[in-house]
């Protein structure tokens, strides 16, 4: 492919207009040359011989007539062993290495290799010479931390091939040739462990997409029981500032029952990323006993980093997720926050002087959001195994009002909605997921009848609580008062969870089934009290005991003891039927 070149004819914020010779393609990457600096940019619109490009860096001191070199490639990421534990910016530059090179600041125009070239990998071929293969099929494996990293026929290789050579087991680096294949016309191609893939194109080297059916256990009770997420499903967490979106994402990234977690910190506070960055290597993954960082990749484009790279960062993240899904792994992608990404689209759209939609967001906002979430999903691979990408995105609606375009566009395409409410977070009821407004289309870890019962009580309890504010306790019947207390009870002991307590922070699926069974029995019991004060005191005590129960390890003998105590307490006040 011949690479075009061009000259800058306009600069407006991070958008440059380039007059070019030759052919350029939409989303092609080019470099604007500023002295020795080369600033990466992407074509976003072409009109005649003019290309509008978004620059992924600060554009200060670019001028008319400066040269732009096109590369002929779309914006791509490197895929191969060595991705895990890395911290990248939105363009897949490793940040720690960048810090070594440039010091404290992210100086523009520095692009580093995403995957270290020198690391030795212990290669074991699993295919055989003579095997017929196509893109995405495994040729061999290298151990990467706790996983077997599959080396696959690169996804960009269309058609069918025959393996003509496989390297002997041994130590190789990512750029060494580990296989050769012959295409249908007889031409031979060399294969290394390293491949590149354009971020805005979904990886589809699988057999078919499956319906998400198995639950992805997050160990957050209100999610798994009431508003579950399935492996390969999608969900969103909208909420006003201070409602705990980021804390909820952090908890999920720690405890979720998946193989790999990819965190895309997209236009949010740097401080929060730093917490993850500095704490994850110290934390152990309860599933493997190894450091949590071993299963994590962080894509970090914080709010003060260039806006165009913010837009790229979510695609970089989902492409890495797609790569690991091809190895048959369950990947969780957490994007915080998708609103910042949508705002990056809005800024660019404004500079392109496109006709704006609602709140100046571009008209294509909905389709862009939809196609992003559609990159999630569970698939059957060509060799019969399955893998999945679960996508969870936070949304930061302006003014905490869910009627804004990004929240609404997201709600249309996701399978579960965890709406955070200011009222709950103000009352310190964490996680502040609203139990009445939220919903999920995925199956729960507990029996649906039990949920209906609990939800009914929560709804009625809230209504009665509101009524009581007007008519006072005096004007409420004891039956209604009991429903109110039961609602408050479920809320306090099951929906709320202490993220900072070792045991309470993570409740396994089995434990949820068991505990929720006991609580359902308590909710069903028809209790009798002489007056409201006795009832209130009883529920105070019941709440306290259940909270203690939540804080005891399931293996601890105290666990059974407390459970029996709860059952006894309830049976003492239950009417004999």
């Amino acid at each position: 492919m011949s690479e075009a070149s061009g000259k800058i004819v306009g600069v407006n914020g991070n958008m440059i207009t380039v007059e070019f010779d030759g052919a350029v393609s939409q989303n092609e990457v080019g470099f604007a040359c500023l002295g020795d600096l080369r600033l990466m940019a992407e074509v976003v619109r072409v009109r005649g011989s003019l290309a509008d490009m978004q620059v992924f860096e600060d554009t200060a001191l670019l001028g008319i007539g400066d040269i732009v070199e096109f590369t002929g490639d779309l914006l791509s990421v490197e895929l191969g062993p060595g991705l895990l534990t890395q911290v990248y910016d939105g363009l897949q530059n490793p940040l720690p290495e960048l810090a070594e090179k440039c010091g404290f600041f992210l100086d523009r125009g520095n692009y580093l290799e995403a995957i270290p070239r020198g690391t030795p990998w212990e290669w074991t071929p699993t295919a055989k010479v003579g095997d017929k293969v196509s893109a995405g099929l495994t040729l061999g494996q290298v151990p990467e931390g706790i996983f077997q990293h599959h080396i696959m026929l690169p996804f960009a290789m269309d058609g069918n091939y025959e393996i003509t050579y496989l390297a002997e087991p041994g130590t190789y680096r990512v750029e060494d040739v580990i296989a050769k294949v012959k295409d249908e016309k007889g031409a031979e191609h060399e294969v290394t462990m390293l491949q590149r893939w354009p971020v805005k194109v979904p990886i589809q080297a699988y057999q078919e997409r499956l319906r998400p059916s198995e639950p992805m256990v997050t160990k957050v009770r209100i999610i798994d029981t009431f508003f579950p997420v399935a492996l390969g499903g999608t969900y969103c967490i909208p909420g006003p500032f201070g409602a705990g979106k980021t804390v909820l994402q952090q908890i999920t990234s720690r405890y979720a029952d998946v193989d790999i977690v990819i965190l895309a910190a997209c236009g949010e506070r740097a401080g929060e990323v730093v917490e993850t960055l500095r704490e994850f290597p110290e934390l152990t993954d309860p599933r493997t006993g190894k450091s949590l960082m071993d299963r994590t990749v962080i894509i970090c484009n914080t709010s003060s980093m260039p806006v165009a790279a913010r837009e790229a960062s979510v695609y970089t993240a989902v492409t890495l997720a797609g790569y690991y899904r091809q190895m048959g792994m369950n990947v969780l992608l957490l994007a915080d926050s998708t609103s910042r990404w949508a705002q990056a689209l809005r800024e660019m759209s404004g500079r392109l002087e496109e006709i704006p939609g609602e709140e100046a967001f571009p008209a294509y906002l909905e389709s862009v959001i939809a196609s992003f979430y559609e990159r999630g999903g569970r698939v059957r691979l060509k060799d019969g195994r399955t893998g999945s990408i679960t996508i969870g995105g936070t949304v930061s609606p302006a003014g905490g009002n869910f009627d804004e375009p990004v929240t609404q566009a997201t709600l249309k395409v996701v399978g579960a909605f965890h709406g955070l409410s200011r009222a709950r977070s103000d009352a310190r009821r964490y996680p502040a997921i609203d139990p009445l407004d939220s919903w999920s289309k995925y199956p729960s870890v507990v029996n649906p009848d039990q949920i209906d019962l609990a939800r009914g009580i929560l709804r009625d309890g809230t209504e009665i609580g509101q009524m009581m504010k007007v008519v006072g306790e005096e004007g409420t019947s004891i039956e209604d008062f009991l429903v109110y207390l039961k609602g408050e009870y479920v809320d306090a002991v099951y929906l709320q969870q202490d993220a900072y307590h070792d045991i309470d922070a993570a409740t396994s699926a089995d434990r949820q089934k068991m505990v929720f069974g006991v609580i359902t029995d308590i909710l069903k019991a028809s209790m009798v009290f002489d007056d409201k004060e006795t009832a209130r005191r009883f529920f105070h005590q019941l709440t306290q005991t259940t909270k203690d129960w939540n804080r005891v390890d399931i293996e601890d003998p105290q666990f059974e003891e407390l459970k029996n105590r709860l059952v006894n307490m309830v049976s003492e006040v239950t009417a004999n039927a």
Partner: protein, 430 residues
């Protein structure tokens, strides 16, 4: 020598357009006409058409004004000689000191590599119990004060500046009333803190473009001090004026507004400034305390709303007091575990009881009967408001905690507070 242009194509608001070649984006130019000269900055290039934002405002700029490009972007002088000085938003002296042009540094530089940040762990003591106990300020935090016009936010800022244990104070004033500017200057001078302070002040009477420069200049200077291992506190007041200046320029440039006239990149613009708050791995720190006045006391207004998503918490100033509900320091958990063993307990207990007091006053106003418990809460609430919340209270954290115990002991029995008996045995005043 740089080329000089004599023909201004169009003038709109504070933006002038000229035809010129070889110009760089963000380059500075000097615009001279009969009424005086001013710096200007390139904000858009379209072929040979160059849009410049004139710092002193375009008023009086003639169509034959002389425009001389300087070949560099905006810079400010930096050094210890800045201490004790007062400048305008355009970095010109506002005091009687000399014009400075040595050791120039770039403003609006690149952001800090997250890998070079560390988790903040140091408390900033202010002597204000509502901050020290309940929402501890932490070094490298960025925190706005949300307040309606008329609240005493500038005196609050000045007090924190004087009492906070930091090496350098940088005050960035945007759209300040002249009285407020003098208030800051005099207060800092009287207390002797002016010698460790640099002030960049844009008053309401100054050209609006200079308002836009204030945060960038203040933070660029702060960053250099921080790199020299200094602990810097940056005070920015009032960021709503900054946002309004952004709005004004955006509308002049015919950008499509997103929400109530503000440009679509308001979030990114604010974040680029606030994110300069940092604790460097191996150097000093920048803490940012800003004022965001809330038009109509509405927190969903685009400026406070976007700010809330960026900053690490917020203080609500209401009726001259820091409101305990809604106010939040997101970083307080990082430090309040290591101050004194009763810190977190006092913090939680007193707020819970105060919430009870608020509910009781509501009940009281609706005419419901007051129980014995309600009466206790009423007594407690009054004392809490008078002895803790009042902004004139000025005591160190330890004394404030002791005062907390005293108020609790005067109003309640130990068991009524729900505090674990281990702590009441140790601290409950007999």
């Amino acid at each position: 020598m740089h080329k000089v242009y004599h023909r201004v194509e169009s003038i709109a608001g504070n933006v002038i357009n000229i035809r010129a070649t070889g110009i760089k984006y963000r380059e500075l130019a000097e615009v001279t006409s009969r009424s005086g000269s001013s710096l200007a900055q390139v904000i858009q290039l379209r072929g040979d058409l160059v849009s410049l934002q004139v710092f002193a405002g375009a008023r009086g700029v003639a169509t034959d004004a002389q425009v001389r490009f300087l070949g560099r972007s905006m810079e400010v002088p930096f050094g210890d000689f800045l201490l004790g000085r007062i400048f305008t938003g355009g970095a010109q002296p506002r005091d009687k000191g000399p014009v400075l042009s040595e050791n120039l540094i770039q403003i609006g530089g690149p952001s800090v590599n997250p890998a070079k940040r560390i988790i903040p762990k140091k408390m900033v003591r202010t002597g204000i119990p509502m901050i020290d106990i309940f929402n501890t300020l932490v070094e490298s935090q960025k925190l706005p004060v949300f307040a309606r016009a008329g609240e005493p936010y500038n005196p609050l800022l000045a007090r924190i500046a004087l009492q906070a244990e930091v090496d350098i104070i940088i005050l960035g004033g945007m759209g300040l009333k002249h009285d407020d500017y003098l208030y800051f200057r005099d207060t800092l001078e009287e207390s002797g803190a002016l010698s460790r302070t640099v002030m960049f002040v844009h008053t309401a009477a100054d050209p609006i473009v200079e308002c836009l420069l204030v945060p960038d200049i203040s933070l660029a200077v702060a960053e250099q001090f921080a790199l020299q291992n200094k602990r810097v506190l940056v005070l920015l007041t009032d960021m709503t004026n900054f946002a309004d200046a952004l709005k004004e320029i955006a509308i002049t440039m015919e950008q499509i507004p997103s929400n109530r006239g503000y440009p679509g990149d308001l979030y990114s613009q604010l974040a680029a400034r606030y994110e300069k708050a940092v604790e460097f791995d191996g150097a000093g720190s920048i803490t940012i305390l800003a004022v965001t006045s809330m038009p109509g006391d509405d927190v969903t207004h685009p400026v406070p709303d976007n700010t809330g998503y960026i900053t690490e918490g917020q203080f609500y100033l209401r009726n001259g007091r820091i409101e305990p509900f809604g106010s939040l320091s997101r970083l307080k958990q990082q430090v309040n575990g290591d101050t004194r063993s009763d810190h977190r307990t006092i913090m939680n207990t007193m707020i819970q009881l105060y919430a009870g007091f608020r509910e009781t006053t509501e009940k009281q106003s609706m005419g419901f009967r007051m129980s014995a418990w309600d009466t206790k809460l009423l007594k407690y609430g009054e004392r809490f408001e008078k002895e803790m919340m009042d902004l004139s209270v000025n005591i160190p954290l330890e004394e404030a905690l002791d005062l907390g115990w005293k108020i609790l002991a005067d109003c309640f029995e130990p068991m009524e507070t729900g505090i674990p008996s281990k702590l009441t045995d140790q601290y409950w005043p007999s």
